[in-house]
């Protein structure tokens, strides 16, 4: 100790006491700073609930909120607060982006962790994807992607369907053909299943061809629609899914893989039957956290989804504009916050209360699942 020339190495009682006090104070200060996120959560729930309470206090409005899709909160004479179409829009784009992001993300994570030798290049690229601000994604969706979708959408989708369908039918044809040959015909045919496989593959390709032909004739009336939002949201969710899934895959021990390989399994079999089941809780947590990014995302859906206040017809039509909760809050609060205390202001807070509760539940689920995975890792 440079300052204490006269001090002995063993500290006296007074010094010890002073030190104890300052340690305590320092610790208390740190603890109070650490409690800020906790306080923020509590305040957040409290204040949003407080502003939402006047709306939920009115039972008929609350009932309408969840069951009707007649949304006209600013109307002077007969305001309506039916948010069903808005909830449906959120569910729709979330589902759409899941369908794209989950398989893509898991496959990419598997490749990053198990197969690719260029992980050093791809990993930062995936991280950069997470760094792009959401408003830039929205910009891309509305300025670049929407016009393409509107003009060439049918052909693009047809090409995607054809590519995916052809590869899928080849793979499935080979598998199913072999199993079918083994099960149905004993003896001669079982060994020469080529014909059966060829028939299956060709019929699969034919079906995809027909499907993509009908997709090519698809007329997309507006480029800003649920599909556009789903694609962009999927890409936004990918970095979360990929990097968290990769963490989970990394946590699976080397012995598992080696054991499986030693038993004669191929790499694909090892991954599908051994590695992925071991990492499933971590991957589930990754998916939940990726989903949360999708549900909570504002700018992309606001810009890309078209903001139409109705449930698409038919209900699974992804090429119709929809409107989500976050977009509604962002779009209408600007007009409502002038008149603090209006019905519109409160209904928007009610909507964000639903959003917040949903996010908290999902977060808890993600942390619970991910937590159990982390303890395994340790």
């Amino acid at each position: 100790m440079e300052s204490g020339k006269k001090h002995s190495l063993i500290m006296g009682g007074g010094q010890n006491f002073m030190r104890e006090i300052s340690q305590r104070i320092g610790r208390g200060l740190l603890l109070s700073i650490t409690a800020i996120p906790t306080l923020a959560i509590i305040f957040m729930i409290f204040f949003i609930a407080k502003e939402a309470a006047p709306f939920f206090g009115n039972l008929s409005h609350t009932l309408e909120f969840f069951t009707s899709s007649n949304w006209a909160p600013s109307s002077q004479n007969s305001p309506h607060f039916g948010a069903l179409a808005i909830f449906y829009g959120t569910a729709m784009v979330t589902l759409g982006s899941c369908v794209i992001a989950i398989p893509l993300g898991i496959f990419a994570a598997v490749c990053l962790n198990e197969i690719s030798k260029k992980a050093a290049f791809f990993k930062p690229m995936v991280e950069l994807l997470a760094a792009i601000p959401s408003v830039v994604y929205g910009f891309f969706a509305i300025v670049i992607f929407a016009p393409i979708l509107q003009e060439e959408g049918g052909i693009l989708i047809a090409a995607a369907v054809f590519l995916l369908g052809t590869t899928a039918s080849i793979v499935i044809g080979i598998c199913a053909g072999e199993i079918f040959a083994e099960k149905a015909f004993k003896g001669y045919f079982a060994k020469r299943s080529l014909l059966i496989k060829a028939i299956m593959i060709l019929s699969g390709i034919f079906a995809t061809f027909e499907l993509s032909l009908s997709a090519a004739n698809l007329k997309i009336e507006s480029g800003t629609n649920a599909f556009n939002a789903s694609v962009i949201l999927a890409i936004m969710a990918l970095p979360t899914i990929v990097s968290l899934s990769q963490d989970a895959l990394q946590a699976v021990g080397r012995d598992m893989r080696e054991g499986s390989l030693a038993l004669g399994a191929t790499r694909a079999e090892t991954i599908i039957k051994v590695v992925l089941p071991c990492a499933k809780s971590g991957i589930a947590a990754a998916i939940i956290l990726g989903l949360m990014r999708v549900i909570g995302e504002t700018m992309v859906v606001w810009m890309a989804s078209g903001n139409a206040l109705k449930i698409p017809e038919p209900f699974f039509n992804f090429f119709e504009p929809v409107r989500t909760m976050t977009a509604t809050i962002a779009g209408e609060m600007g007009e409502a916050d002038q008149s603090t205390g209006s019905d519109r202001y409160h209904v928007l807070f009610a909507m964000s209360f639903c959003l917040l509760i949903g996010a908290l539940i999902m977060n808890a689920a993600g942390q619970f699942i991910g937590g159990s995975f982390r303890t395994i890792k340790k």
């Binding site: 300052s22 650490t34 496959f107 760094a131 408003v135």
Partner: protein, 567 residues
């Protein structure tokens, strides 16, 4: 399953995951590349002479010698164009002198006044008969006038004719007044009868003039539509006209060649004309100017503009660094994006000033004091939960709590927005800092404590410095996140229009900010086609800021890893 099948499946699986990784890994290029290519066009582009004029007159740029030369050349080319337009608009190429028509009008009235007695007898009839008889009489009386008008119209093409017709209509009305007065003078004729005479006597010529004007309106509106396009292209003609314009966008022509070409092909080569649809409703129709005007004088004007396009505008390649340092003028159509960049800078830096110390402190508590107790785990869970709250909810919280409840400012302000952003990035900072602190080897702690340092001293003197570079990485990454977040600042800090604010105003004033203005200019701008380059330029600027922060973080991390390996 046969081995060969398993092998095929294995390679199919490998191929599939490789493709997936390729898509995920290159998606970022697919996003950035088109934005970067077009975004560069915001400050490196082919400018027209109007660009220099705008800069020198509004933003105090000085004109170089070559710029002056270009302006002179373009003025010379424009002079010819304006002369053509002038001569067309004031041409009197009518076969019949217009004075003759006026004379005919006066003589017709005079003749009718001489027929006073006949008209008086008509006026004494019943109202329904009266009107009919007057009309019949008028038709005969106006025949010569109608013929002359017809002749004049056939040869007329100029603007003077339309003016003349309106004038004739006005004069007919006033003359009819005097005429009716003259006829009824001294006789006992009811007011109604007099009115009927006044109205019905001029019904016929008025309807003729109306039809004539209708035909000319179509012709002239087509010409005016093209002229409007030309003015949009090269700007108003004289200084006086320029000063009369309210909006800056009306004072100048097109500053960029790409937009100028679009104006040429869409607003000049195509024009809107008024047409009467089958249902009898007037509609606007788009037609090709060349076909519509043919070889007439407007056709020649069009040809001149198309032929001398380069001379009129003097396009040349230019770099405009002012895009980043100039204020926007007239809703971003002119000027740069300085206030947005500055606003983003304020918001990000203020948020970091608040969040970084708090985050580091919390991380120290988690890693050095808390251990794995129940309270610590609860606090940790809350950090995770806060990280999962949707960003728009942060915005609402900022509005409901910071602004409406504790009133950190009267309305939106940079400070309120920064606090909201700070809260948003706090969990990320806590997590990354905790991880970096935990990565400091335990031997450091033990060494420091073993040398007699207190815990506090060990933290400040040994552990923090060791963890600092890696903590910096996390902090820089969250800075990038704060710079790009939009939803939290919508209700707390962002305003769509406005100039750069000073440092002293951050506690009271809202500011424009890049993310919010990107949204605004894409979705809510009234002239989206005029600001395409600004949209891309803003998006590129934001991407560059964020990527710069992230790449520097990645760079620091790579250095760190190397350093660790060498140890």
């Amino acid at each position: 399953m046969k081995d060969s099948t398993r092998k095929i499946l294995d390679s199919a699986f490998t191929a599939f995951s490789r493709v997936s990784l390729f898509i995920v890994g290159t998606a970022v290029i697919g996003f950035i590349l088109p934005i970067a290519l077009k975004g560069i066009g915001a400050f490196m582009f082919t400018a027209t002479v109007e660009h220099e004029k705008f800069l020198s007159e509004n933003l105090d740029y000085s004109l170089s010698k070559s710029d002056k030369e270009r302006i002179r050349k373009s003025d010379a080319a424009r002079q010819k164009l304006w002369e053509m337009i002038d001569s067309y608009e004031s041409s009197k190429d009518s076969s019949q002198p217009l004075e003759k028509i006026s004379d005919l009008r006066i003589s017709t009235f005079n003749k009718a006044i001489k027929d006073k007695d006949k008209l008086k007898s008509i006026l004494s009839q019943t109202p329904s008969k009266r009107a009919k008889l007057i009309k019949e009489y008028a038709e005969g009386a106006w025949r010569a006038y109608a013929d002359a008008l017809d002749d004049a119209e056939r040869g007329a093409s100029g603007f003077l004719f339309q003016k003349f017709i309106s004038e004739q209509e006005r004069k007919l009305e006033s003359d009819a007044e005097i005429f009716a007065e003259e006829i009824c003078k001294g006789a006992k004729i009811s007011r109604m009868a007099r009115n009927s005479l006044r109205r019905n006597f001029i019904t016929y010529p008025i309807s003729l003039l109306n039809a004539c004007r209708e035909r000319f309106a179509e012709k002239n509106s087509a010409y005016l539509s093209m002229k409007g396009g030309i003015i949009e292209l090269i700007g108003p003609r004289s200084l006086k006209e320029k000063e009369d314009m309210k909006l800056t966008r009306q004072k100048y022509g097109q500053t960029r060649l790409d937009i100028a070409q679009r104006v040429l092909s869409e607003d000049i080569a195509k024009i809107s004309i008024r047409k009467i649809s089958q249902g009898g409703i007037p509609i606007m129709d788009r037609v090709s100017s060349k076909e519509y005007f043919g070889n007439s004088v407007p056709g020649q004007i069009l040809e001149y503009v198309e032929k001398h396009f380069d001379e009129l505008l003097q396009p040349h390649f230019t770099i405009y660094p002012g895009f980043f340092t100039d204020n926007p003028i007239d809703a971003n159509i002119f000027g740069g994006i300085y206030p947005m960049i500055l606003g983003t800078f304020y918001l990000t830096v203020c948020a970091m000033i608040v969040a970084a110390p708090l985050g580091i402190a919390a991380a120290i508590y988690f890693s050095e004091y808390a251990g794995n107790g129940r309270i610590a785990n609860f606090l940790r869970m809350c950090v995770g939960t806060l990280a999962g709250v949707p960003s728009i909810v942060f915005g609402l919280f900022g509005l409901a709590f910071l602004i409406n409840t504790i009133k950190v400012s009267d309305g939106k302000s940079v400070f309120a927005g920064s606090l909201t952003l700070a809260l948003l990035i706090l969990p990320t900072i806590i997590r990354t800092c905790e991880e970096s602190l935990k990565a400091v080897p335990n031997s450091y702690r033990e060494g420091a404590l073993g040398l007699g340092a207190g815990k506090w001293r060990a933290i400040c003197g040994v552990i923090l410095p060791a963890a600092l570079p890696s903590m910096l990485t996390g902090i820089i990454i969250s800075m990038g996140r704060a710079a790009g977040e939009t939803a939290p600042i919508i209700f707390t800090a962002a305003t769509s229009a406005g100039l750069a604010i000073g440092l002293s105003d951050i506690f009271t004033q809202p500011t424009p900010a890049l993310p919010w203005n990107i949204y605004n200019i894409c979705s809510e701008h009234e002239m989206a086609e005029r600001v395409g380059h600004v949209q891309y330029g803003m998006a590129l600027t934001l991407i560059c800021i964020v990527l710069f922060l992230n790449l520097s973080a990645i760079f620091i991390r790579a250095k760190l890893q190397n350093a660790n390996k060498n140890k």
